[in-house]
Amino acid sequence: MESREKELSALPQTSDPPRGRLSVLLGRLISPYLHGEARGPVPEVLGRLIYPFLRGEAPKPQQATGFYTDTTVCIGCKACEVACKQWNQLPADGFIWSGNSYDNTNELSATTWRHVKFIEQFSDESSSNLSPLDAINNESPLNRWLMMSDNCKHCVASPCHQACPTGAIVQNEFENIYIQADICNGCSSCIAACPFGVITRSEMGGHSHKCTLCYDRQRDGLEPACAKACPTQSIHFGPIEELREQARKRVEQLHERGVPQAYLYGDVPSETYSEMHSFYLLVDRPSVYGLPDAPFNPWLHMMGDYARSVAGGLAAIAVLLVVVFLLKP
């Protein structure tokens, strides 16, 4: 893992991007606000008004990175959840018994960016007839644990990115989907758009949050905290093409070893959804893991919806015009 980090740190790094000419001027105007020295309401209000309009130059594109999560080796230790919380300084969610196996975070949220899911697939028959040790050894499709560390899918054509009206959600230089917390105004469009239920709005600031794919760590040549902490290498991080290759080989390997149901979820685009930069190796239907069986990008309907919307309005205007022209003196 250390050598992997050295390899990653050798990738070209980006520093804070220089600002454009107009942004420099605007930045000077609100300099006290930017440096936390604004005194009085006028510089504060001016700063708040102008700040979101400051522009920097876009960082140079880097090699696309992502996650490949092999659920067959996940042991449900939740080290990824803890590492994510720790690195991103996310508050605890309290301790609740969900009644759903060992899952006590329940879902991804503004404060839980990694969520380990537990699926118990034990038939009544097998559990009553077998001794506990036999039950563990007899890992048939009806007598097994499935565990999966879930997170944002970092979709290539991501509905949240398309929906965001403020430009807070961007595809960064590593082709990961990133929410700029200082820009988000909590409109919730991204929440409505995400077919995976990844994003929620924080009750603390009213802004949307989700996995950043450890953008800050990546910029410093480090791998994301969850991948670093994973003791079984269920979570792989790296250049996306390499991950896809690695994942395909693993699927072939599993097929050869008698797990014919192994397949990849999100590694390639479907007719209704783009590929994802966080994809999974699964051994059961996606819905078993709480994933949509056939994710659908809602934007495929947008032009048709606009056409019907305009048609509805134009029809009413046409009626009004006809009546006015027919009945006017």
Binding site: A92, S101, S189, R201, G205, M302, G312, A316, L320, V324
Partner: protein
Amino acid sequence: MHANSSPQHASTKPPLPGQGGQIGYENTTVTKVPGWHGIIAWDALLNGMAMGLFLAAAVSELAAPTVFMRVAKVAYPVALVLLLVDLVLLVLDLGDPSRFHHMLRVFKPTSPMSLGTWCLTIFSLPLTAAAALSLLAEWGWDFEWARLLAVVVGLLPGFGAAAYKGVLLSTNAQPGWKDARWLGGYLTNSALLMGCAELLVLSALMGQTQAIAILRTAFIVLLVLNVIPLGLLFANLSPIHAQLYTRGQQWRVGALIAAGALIPLGLMLLNGSLLSISVALIFLLADSWLVRSVYVKIPHTSPLGVRSSE
């Protein structure tokens, strides 16, 4: 922290799921519900009322100035007030209302909310000008050409501001909403219907008999026309409604919506007095609010199966 999470002592015994209890993630709703509640139903109503009134007044005035000029001059300030109330609701609905102006950082045609924000912002300028010049004309400062120019300039962004709302609430991944292909068609059509009714009431209040005669007929035809996109919308939503509501509940809401359309129709066919026109408008607005409210509630409502197991 999750809203419903409460810390428990570590020694508390975990509750075991009972018969038929949910284990795993199959059959759970994957998507998260955005915090769009009743305020959005009111926003959708006020948006329709404001844009519809402006569009109905502008189209009527441009088509028959001698008949509609006087009532249109009153309609523009009323539309402006409705728009301002709507904008306040939109700002209040944000997670961080102090960042409302962040909406204008970018223009993204892929985002219906971005397109809508820009349409509303641009539209507010000619609408304000038209309203102000209409009021000034009442006080003797008549800049007729400038007022008409503002009205013409406001037509396109006004139409856009009416048309985006349905697309915003249907282009997403929410259960039910994602299937509402005719929501935009219904809402835009309904905006013009409400606008026509509002203009009719204003005409009645001002005693504009010619305007009343024309708008009454237009209102009746528009009311019938509006049944088409409403029917198509409910056809889109019937699978989700079947999951969320019992047959009895569906019939009750359906009967209320039907009454909200039939009562104004009956009143308009019977006579065109100020009282019947006003009552018709009230029923129409209540009906329009009910449709929007039922729609906005969909992702917030648990399926019947889940409710019965609880």
